[in-house]
Symmetry: C2
Subunit: 151 residues, 2 copies
């Protein structure tokens, strides 16, 4: 429980502090930043996904450690979706991100809210507790990817 509080605090602290701290020297850095942070998050989230899907043995400590990394980084990518970086994008971001920003931000918040619950679930040392919380975060990822990411 103590750890859950810490992680939740960290997520909140980043939410408050990062918008002001987010400064990129050039637009390409913002693009690379969001792609890089998303990739690292995806690696750690995917390791837990393998456990949830039965493709890897459930290791409670590893699952919790991976979710801790994901949660601590969950706010980072969004600072990289700065205005004017759609045309410099070599990746998959749709221009809709900037024309439907409120919906995009809402999706980001839904993910972060689900993430707080997943951090708690990952500490329960129980795969049956982890699974639905993992699924809930996964749905929020998919929701935004379906709407705002080219396949």
């Amino acid at each position: 429980m103590q750890k859950f509080i810490l992680a939740a605090t960290a997520v909140t602290a980043l939410a408050i502090a990062l918008p002001a701290a987010a400064q990129f020297q050039k637009p390409e850095d913002a693009v690379k930043y969001r792609q890089s942070s998303m990739f690292v998050i995806g690696q750690h989230f995917g390791r837990v996904g393998a456990m949830v899907q039965g493709k890897a043995p459930y290791d409670a400590a590893a699952a919790a450690a991976n979710i801790e990394v994901v949660a601590s980084m969950a706010k980072l990518p969004f600072a990289g979706f700065v205005e004017g970086t759609s045309s410099t994008e070599k990746g998959k971001s749709k221009a809709d991100i900037w024309t439907k920003r409120a919906k995009f931000d809402e999706g980001a918040k839904a993910m972060q809210d689900a993430m707080v619950k997943l951090v708690a679930a990952s500490k329960a040392n129980n795969l049956d507790t982890l699974k639905p919380a993992f699924g809930d975060v996964g749905k929020t990822c998919k929701g935004c990817h379906d709407d705002f990411r080219n396949q």
Copy 2:
């Protein structure tokens, strides 16, 4: 002080848990993982560097928030330097990383030790306290980059 303890705890927790959790589906993922995590770290560290060097106004809260991100990610890249990924490297890693691994790991540990002190210093809300602690971490970065990274 409370925050410093939390950050130090998080760093330690990652140190213990991640080697077992570090699994990459293919060598290229390990390369991309270390490059991505280093890039994100570099962005946040660089923002504090600009303050330390007087190129940006000192913002104590932003500095502490950025250092918190750096500290929480400080262990991540090293999990990506897995055996056999030198030849797949499109970046700057020297093969010496794998032939002089003990020295490389020692450098990583020196960075992480200096990072714990920097987290504390960043909470002091005092640029003169931040500067030397920032410089000490920077030296450990440069030490490994000089030895193990192609320019």
